[in-house]
C-alpha cells in the first residue's frame, strides 16, 4: 500500500517547498505513480521553456532608472 500524494504535493516538491521528510516520502512513491511522474515531467519541461523566454527592457528604461536614482541622491544630499 503506497502513501497518497496529490498533484499539489508534487508541485511543492518540484519547487523545493517540501520538508526533507516529505521529499523522501515522495521520492519513494514516485516510481509507483506514473501520474505523478507525468506531472513532474510537465513541470520540468515548463521550467525549461520559461527559462528560455528572455525579454530585455529597452536600454532607455534602464538609463531613466539610473538617472532617477542619481537625481534622488542629489536631492537627499542637498536637503
Amino acid at each position: 500500500m503506497h502513501e497518497e500524494f496529490t498533484p499539489e504535493d508534487i508541485i511543492r516538491y518540484a519547487y523545493r517547498e517540501v520538508t526533507e521528510e516529505e521529499k523522501n516520502r515522495i521520492e519513494t512513491a514516485l516510481p509507483h505513480r506514473p501520474d505523478l511522474r507525468q506531472m513532474l515531467e510537465d513541470i520540468e519541461a515548463l521550467e525549461g521553456g520559461m527559462n528560455a523566454i528572455k525579454i530585455e527592457p529597452h536600454p532607455t528604461s534602464v538609463k531613466i532608472i539610473i538617472e532617477e536614482s542619481h537625481d534622488s541622491s542629489l536631492h537627499i544630499s542637498n536637503s
Binding site: R12, E17, I53, K54, S61, S69
Partner: protein
C-alpha cells in the same frame, strides 16, 4: 538558487551608504526577469516598459525611505511591486471608457495597432515564442501564479498572501495552469 558574488543585501546596504553603482548592479542583475514577468502579465510591450520603469523608481524611493526590510529576498520584493503595478494598470484599462467614432467603432483598436503587433511579434520571435503565446491564453489567476513562482521566486505562501487567496488555492491555480498548458500543447501538436 542564486549564486551572486555580492549578495543582494550587501548591494542594498552599499546603495544606502551612497554607492550608486550598487543600484545599477541590482537593476542589471534582475532586469530581464522583472521585464519578462511584467511582459507576460500585461502582454503589451509599451505598457511593460512603463511598468518596468515605474517598478524600479518605486524601489529606489522605498529603499531611500527605509521601507525595505532585508530578509534576503530582494527579487520577490521587487516582483511584488511589479505585480501590483501591473494589476493596477490592467484594472485601470478595464475601467477606461471606450471612445467610438461616428460609426460606433472603438477607435483604440486603430491606435498603435500595427506597431504593437510588430513589437509583440519581435518579442515572440526573440523568445520561446510558442510557450509565450500559450501562457497568454491562461486565465489571469493561473498565469499570475505561474509567473510569480517562476520569475519572481516567490513561494506559494507568499503568492497566496499577495493575491489574497489561500495557499491551497494558489497551488490549485498552478496545477490547472500546468494541466491547461499540457492540453493546449496536445491540441496544437495534433
Amino acid at each position: 538558487m542564486h549564486n551572486h558574488i555580492i549578495p543582494d543585501h550587501k548591494l542594498v546596504e552599499s546603495y544606502l551608504e551612497g554607492n550608486e553603482i550598487a543600484l545599477e548592479m541590482l537593476v542589471k542583475r534582475y532586469k530581464q526577469k522583472v521585464m519578462t514577468a511584467i511582459s507576460m502579465l500585461v502582454y503589451d510591450r509599451y505598457l511593460a516598459e512603463d511598468i518596468f520603469q515605474e517598478t524600479f523608481i518605486k524601489v529606489i524611493h522605498s529603499l531611500r525611505g527605509g521601507k525595505y526590510q532585508h530578509e534576503g529576498k530582494f527579487l520577490p520584493w521587487v516582483m511584488r511591486i511589479a505585480r501590483n503595478l501591473s494589476i493596477d494598470h490592467i484594472r485601470r484599462n478595464k475601467k477606461m471608457p471606450t471612445i467610438t467614432d461616428s460609426e460606433g467603432n472603438d477607435i483604440s483598436t486603430f491606435i498603435r495597432t500595427d506597431d504593437l503587433n510588430m513589437e509583440d511579434r519581435m518579442v515572440r520571435d526573440q523568445t520561446h515564442g510558442h510557450l509565450y503565446d500559450l501562457i497568454s491564453r491562461l486565465p489571469e489567476e493561473q498565469r499570475e501564479v505561474l509567473i510569480l513562482r517562476h520569475y519572481g521566486d516567490l513561494s506559494f505562501k507568499e503568492i497566496a498572501d499577495i493575491t489574497g487567496c489561500s495557499i491551497n488555492t494558489a497551488l490549485g491555480r498552478m496545477r490547472y495552469a500546468i494541466l491547461n498548458l499540457r492540453k493546449m500543447l496536445v491540441t496544437v501538436t495534433k
